[in-house]
């Protein structure tokens, strides 16, 4: 490296009056070193796990730490928004009772959630679960919403040997390869309409169905399952269509459905804008079947249709009842500021929290071998008579319950006898 013999003014401030080039320990070197030191210090600050202060609840030694992510931005916000509060409410209620008793330690430990925002993005979720494992050192994982995100995030389970409880993730892809570190209590998507099928199995008055599904991982599987189920019940599916996600104009679809003249129209779509578009246009164009089924009818869709939502049959992951579990569930929802029917997946969360508690009690320890084993061996009852288990592939058999929209809210059509007497056909009235 050549230094020129004539001093070159470099930025004006490093040349001494004598005209010599700056020496090794001259002011230039000191400034450079100082800058480097400052930058390294900042880098160190960022790296130190004090940056884990982004978590919503700090874990302290002697807790049971549950690591989770929730979508606080992106497409899944409307579905899981209040679940952070729901989780905290449950943790509070458990801790108020003294925590969860773990016989291996001879005492009860309190529960803490450490939750991050996964931005509805699978790669972000994966990174965050990695962080939860290595930086926050959680004992268990509670998965995020949706199969896509769970598929990515659960990759963090095996390397760290942390059991991963899947809440909403019931697509076959998640369970296609064996993995002892993850499990779910819920049936696969194609079984989602099982309880509704029980209702229609006993309900007279319908002969033909049309099924419309939004082109997306979950909806396609669920709609296929429903079609198969209807076939077995002796119904005829006279129209089936999978329609792209970005469709805004359903007029052609409505026309084709009208031509097929079904008694019942079933719509399987997780995206409110899509569902709203379809129903508004169906209404405008005079599609008025005897029965309308929309598997997912969140609040915005109900409100968008106003009085037109009346008597639409839907599915919800919880139902109304009076057992102690029902009451606990309602109380947790109130604490989170929501009503159970407003967020269908609240039911999934509640059951999953109970499963976690039951697993830990049975394992009696936080040991990384015992807990997954206990997770798979789940066997408990909620809501009086509902039995929850995990099968050999790692998922369960829990499916949602039928509901019907009355006066702008969802009303349970379960248990079956209640549903059969409460059910009313839409009779083409918008």
């Amino acid at each position: 490296m050549k230094h020129s013999s004539m001093p070159q003014p470099r930025d004006g401030d490093f040349v001494r009056a004598s005209g010599h080039a700056p020496g090794r320990c001259g002011p230039a070197a000191r400034t450079g070193l100082r800058a480097a030191a400052v930058l390294l210090a900042i880098a160190g600050l960022v790296c130190v796990p004090a940056a884990a202060g982004r978590a919503w609840a700090q874990g302290t030694p002697g807790d049971i730490r549950i690591g989770a992510t929730l979508s606080q931005s992106g497409v899944y916000v409307p579905i899981v928004g209040p679940f952070g509060k729901l989780a905290d409410a449950w943790a509070e209620s458990v801790n108020a009772r003294g925590g969860i008793f773990l016989k291996h330690y001879g005492k009860s430990l309190p529960v803490r959630f450490i939750t991050y925002d996964d931005k509805s993005d699978p790669t972000t979720a994966l990174n965050l679960y990695e962080r939860l494992a290595s930086v926050d050192k959680v004992d268990l994982f509670l998965g995020p919403f949706s199969s896509g995100m769970n598929n990515a995030a659960m990759q963090a389970a095996e390397p760290h040997r942390i059991p991963y409880f899947i809440p909403e993730g019931n697509d076959a892809a998640l369970y296609s390869s064996p993995n002892p570190w993850r499990a779910s209590l819920f049936a696969l998507a194609d079984a989602e309409y099982t309880r509704l099928g029980l209702l229609y199995g006993k309900l007279p008055g319908l002969k033909t169905f049309a099924i419309l599904a939004r082109d997306n991982l979950h909806e396609v599987g669920a709609a296929d399952g429903f079609a198969a189920m209807l076939g077995k019940l002796g119904y005829r599916v006279v129209y089936r269509e999978i329609v792209p996600k970005e469709t805004k104009d359903f007029a052609s679809i409505v026309l084709k459905i009208k031509q097929a003249n079904p008694d019942a129209v079933a719509v399987e779509s997780l995206a409110p804008p899509w569902t709203i578009q379809f129903f508004k246009q169906a209404r405008e164009l005079g599609l008025a079947p005897k029965e309308v089924i929309a598997a997912h009818m969140p609040v915005p869709v109900i409100r968008a249709l106003g009085g037109g939502a009346e008597n639409i049959v839907s599915l919800l992951w919880s139902y109304e009842g009076n057992t102690p579990d029902h009451q606990e569930f309602k109380a947790l929802c109130s604490a989170a500021g929501i009503e159970p029917w407003e967020y269908s997946e609240a039911g999934v969360r509640y059951v999953t929290y109970k499963w976690i508690e039951e697993t830990l009690k049975r394992a009696g320890t936080l040991d990384h071998e015992a807990v997954p084993k206990a997770m798979w061996e789940a066997d408990f009852t909620l809501f009086g008579d509902e039995h929850f288990k995990v099968n050999g592939k790692g998922y369960g058999s829990e499916v949602p319950y039928p509901t019907e929209i009355r006066n702008g809210r969802a009303v349970s059509l379960w248990p079956l006898d209640v549903g059969l007497s409460a059910h009313v056909f839409k009779d083409g009235k918008w």
């Binding site: 480097a36 290595s134 396609v220 792209p244």
Partner: protein, 319 residues
């Protein structure tokens, strides 16, 4: 402008950073895998931004469809992997498919100028997304494509880093070559260049094909790493716009520009989400606005940054 060779002193900090990055997987820190994963995605974005800038910055055609090659690579490798083809073969095929596609579309697409070109290439992204959704039997459609999982964090880290370095080397080499000269002349005034006998059609096609190698490889690697892709993700809006924004933010047309833009934006994102629970997107948006308003030409063309680059010997002829 004469380039000053960097002094040892000036190389101290960047040298430490590079060493740190290379050594990260071996450091005895619990959180190293987390940072490796974060950096891997950073290298990926930087690589996309760098390869985009070959056409976007050097040639002057804002190619909003750059991500098409990423998606093509992702699906090609994924489909072949499921048929038993090893990763290397899959990546090679990805690069060939993307390159062939680029060669095919370059003649008709490069007849378009300015916003027409940009939006036509963007339309290609949406088109590919929808076609991939519909070719259910080949690609799995909207349900996505899944490959056999595996713990690939360590190799992915080094490979994406190496690809980023390769992308930057490519940009540098092309910039100094005859091809680069032709590209810059097209950027400045295509009509005049053509009148002077510059083979514009051939140069544009070459530039596009070269720019597709990296995204195709990165796409294939992405599938291998994440095990599960779907059309909405690999042909998505975020992946399409982010490299463009990062390149413009950092300084489109400079070799170091996209890297600076990516490092800046990515680092900022990391900083923001650890400090704020809400409105993180809005803050990022604000930063983008401020850069747009007050830093014409991007961060790398700021006076202070230019001087720092000069001291590192990285300042280049910005014509």
């Amino acid at each position: 402008m004469r380039r000053h060779p960097p002094t040892l002193r000036a190389l101290l900090l960047p040298g430490a950073v590079v060493l740190g990055v290379l050594a990260l997987p071996w450091l005895p820190a619990d959180s190293r895998i987390y940072y490796m994963q974060e950096l891997t995605m950073g290298f990926l974005y930087a690589g996309l931004a760098q390869s985009y800038d070959l056409v976007g910055g050097l040639l002057g055609y804002i190619n909003l469809g750059h991500i098409v090659f990423f998606g093509l690579g992702a699906y090609t490798t994924g489909i072949l992997f499921n048929l038993g083809v090893p990763l290397i073969g899959g990546l090679a095929a990805s690069i060939l498919v993307a390159g062939a596609f680029a060669a095919l579309i370059s003649i008709p697409f490069f007849r378009l100028r300015g916003a027409y070109f940009s939006l036509a290439t963007f339309a290609l992204v949406k088109l590919m997304e929808h076609v991939t959704d519909n070719l259910r039997d080949l690609t799995g459609g909207s349900s996505g494509l899944k490959i056999l999982a595996g713990n690939r964090v360590l190799p992915m880290y080094y490979v994406t880093l190496a690809l980023l370095a390769a992308a930057m080397a490519t940009s540098w080499a092309v910039g100094r070559s005859r091809l680069g000269l032709g590209m810059k002349s097209i950027r400045e005034d295509e009509g005049v260049a053509r009148d002077f006998g510059v083979p514009t059609t051939r140069i544009k096609a070459q530039a596009l094909v070269i720019s597709t190698v990296l995204p195709a490889a990165l796409g294939g690697l992405f599938t291998w790493y994440i095990n599960f892709i779907n059309p909405g993700e690999v042909f998505g809006l975020k992946l399409a716009l982010q490299p463009v924004a990062m390149a413009m933010l950092g300084g489109s047309g400079l070799v170091i520009g996209p890297l600076i833009g990516t490092a800046f934006l990515y680092g900022l994102e990391e900083l923001i989400w650890t400090r704020f629970e809400f409105l993180q997107g809005a803050m990022l948006g604000l930063v983008v606005v401020l850069v747009g308003l007050f830093m014409p030409g991007g961060i790398a063309r700021l006076k202070g940054v230019e001087r720092a680059l000069e001291r590192l010997g990285l300042k280049e002829d910005d014509s």
